[in-house]
Symmetry: C2
Subunit: 425 residues, 2 copies
């Protein structure tokens, strides 16, 4: 086994001034930017936690260059991280582009040796998480993401493919296991113990300590960790929160697929739904002068609900037409096929709720916090909004087998709005 942290031969960390000469050597990209490389401008626009990201602009156009660093960007060399993740990101993007071409940026070039991806510049698209904080409404988000989820999950699953094909996809992504292990650690384990880098908003220390002593919650989180590790249903994006989606009023694109692996469908859906719930719950903490925060909160609860509904309807429609071996039409009539798909979707729904809950908790008491709360300037208000989210998340984890439908999730969010017992709780 090779050392997963070894950088490829010839790998070097690029600096902003290296980009023009590097890209100019690739004829297609040079043509796309136009003019002489000396006239191009390069700017670092790194935003996520992991990678260096640049925009390169020439007279004829612009493009985005992403380089995987051999460590986690926001932490530094103290947390080494495999450059090979760029290989898995490119492979996942290629498959997403086949299955849902309207919802991923075009991949223009890759260089696994340098850990480099070059892709379409999504001009006019905003990162959904920050845009929601600013009060933007994305009317097409739920429909687009429901379709993206249904198509990428269905067509890479046993509902569409035969076993040798799903096995081959799973094996092709098995080398990304270091990233899976990191996900397990930061989502399902770290928040519940004394992990380094865990962080809690001032005033919520007692609440966090109570969660860390909550046996029922920890048992549910461990169950979800086991589901994450063992339920091999489809090729996932692997980190599908609202920071991995860029959108306009009419378009929606998914980025940052480096965490891709073959896993439980509910994990991708739960990541998105959980982060939409975080946004909905955070809204009353943000500046109400810019927009009607209560209305936006309601609309986001509806969006979270619609993501699931669109996913489930689209998946069921694809499954109804499926000719694969699993639902062999010679064995199962229409009624049976519908029942089997409904059973599957019910099980995905439960997983989705559990993962949504786990993702919400980890964003509040774990290592990686989110702007939905971080940008609430008043720390007491921020802490109170976080406590609301924690109460909701805990119930999603513990009650996931009993929650009938997305309506009940909405009711639960509203019911828990009133439940705050203050920071000491």
């Amino acid at each position: 086994m090779t050392d997963e942290f070894e950088t490829p031969d010839g790998y070097r960390i690029l600096h902003v001034e290296d980009l023009a000469p590097q890209i100019a050597a690739i004829a297609d990209l040079r043509k796309r930017l136009g003019g002489a490389p000396e006239a191009w401008t390069a700017a670092e626009i790194s935003d996520g936690n992991m990678n260096a990201v640049y925009r390169l602009t020439g007279p004829s156009g612009s493009l985005i260059v992403k380089q995987a660093l051999p460590y986690i960007r926001v932490i530094g060399e103290g947390w080494p991280f495999p450059v090979s993740r760029i290989h898995f990101e490119a492979a996942a993007m290629a498959r997403q582009a086949e299955l849902a071409p309207a919802h991923v940026p075009a991949l223009l070039h890759r260089d696994d040796g340098l850990g480099l991806l070059v892709m379409e510049d999504l001009r006019g698209h905003a990162v959904v998480r920050q845009a929601l904080v600013a009060g933007t409404h994305f009317p097409r988000l739920a429909a687009h993401m429901g379709e993206f989820l249904a198509r990428t999950l269905f067509f890479t699953s046993d509902f569409h493919l035969a076993t040798p094909q799903t096995s081959a996809i799973e094996a092709a992504f098995s080398g990304n296991a270091h990233l899976c292990r990191t996900s397990e650690d930061v989502i399902f384990t770290g928040p519940y113990g004394e992990a380094p880098y865990n962080r809690v908003t001032r005033g919520n220390e007692a609440v966090a300590a109570a969660l860390r002593g909550d046996r029922d919650l920890k048992r549910a989180a461990c169950e979800m960790k086991l589901v994450y590790r063992t339920r091999s249903q489809a090729l996932l994006h692997g980190d599908l929160h609202t920071g991995s989606v860029m959108a306009t009023a009419t378009e929606t694109r998914v980025i940052d697929a480096e965490w891709a692996f073959f896993g439980p469908m509910g994990f991708d859906i739960g990541a998105l739904v959980g982060n939409l719930l975080l946004s909905a719950i955070s809204q009353p903490g943000h500046d109400g002068a810019r927009c009607d925060r209560a209305a936006l909160s309601d609309r986001l609860l509806q969006t979270a609900s619609d993501v699931w509904t669109h996913f489930a309807e689209c998946f069921a429609a694809l499954a109804a037409r499926a000719g694969g071996e699993l639902l062999a039409p010679a064995i199962y009539d229409e009624t049976s096929r519908r029942a089997i798909v409904a059973d599957h979707l019910r099980s995905v729904f439960e997983d989705m709720l559990g993962f949504a809950g786990a993702k919400m908790i980890r964003r509040i008491i774990g290592i990686s916090h989110v702007e939905d709360f971080e940008l609430i300037g008043d720390v007491a208000v921020r802490a109170e909004r976080e406590r609301h989210a924690l109460r909701v998340a805990r119930r999603l984890l513990l009650e996931r087998r009993d929650i009938a439908a997305m309506d009940a999730v909405r009711d639960l969010v509203r019911a828990e709005a009133a439940g705050d017992a203050g920071p000491g709780r």
Copy 2:
């Protein structure tokens, strides 16, 4: 992708007279047999459905040679089958030998090019299935198999290993997917439709037709097919019925691991338990002069029950000592760890019951029947014993979530003894 049915370069089907020269070329094996190869005797002892098996005997000892044919032996060239299965069998045997050395024959030599394994001759051991028909009792079988199952499943699972390790094992066996696809077909799909080679005992045609029209049953069988395909918990033997176990009164060895893959723990346990139930239910149909068939039947129900109990106890004991990332001792106290393991075992128990039921049905109305019933000379008695097994199997599949423990399985077998409504049912 290479053609999975292409035989390796240099592959040829060996004949009985080729064996001595082939083996004599390997110094260790030559020494083990002793004397001159011309004095060795070779005999074909093929018994299972798949491969050619020979015993080679010299003055100092004997050994077993197994060759994977490029088709299914009992069917012929009309059903091609990948020779690569021998590679996966050897890899699985090597791991079983590490984890449960007392319960596998020693692997002496392998030649992937010829699809050849050479192993220890288990002299004095009987194939358990046939020996049970003959009335033999194996007092150590349940304890040994419970331990074999617990150790091979625990130590290849997330309860012991970290994610990069389980991912690597899973990827290493992903190339055996053609055999998984065949298992799915002959266990979960074929019996419920008009698959070629399906066979039904005279008198049970109407019962088989009723099962093929039974929507609830087919839905349950399809659920188990999905579990088989998507629940990646441990490295399995993959075909652990009573014909894959050889035993004496004091020793127990598992053979024929060519179906190995990374899958649901309940599949291995259910294969063994289901086949022990078939034997128990078949006993009253066999010659009562040789032994007390009612007592043997009771003892086999106890054995099936004890396999589960030994497995569960041994697994829980291993998990209690586990230092792995899943049950991180810094996060979970003893009570929590026990609860998480108990939840897992409950889920494995349900899978086990479902797989046991599916395995029982496929042996009665599918392609591959078993001596437990085939050796009952009186066809009407055989058909009646099979109907008893089918009633039990159907209930295991449909009631798997409600059956509390193995005692209830025993009660269910006894209750269904009285339920026969005759061949027309």
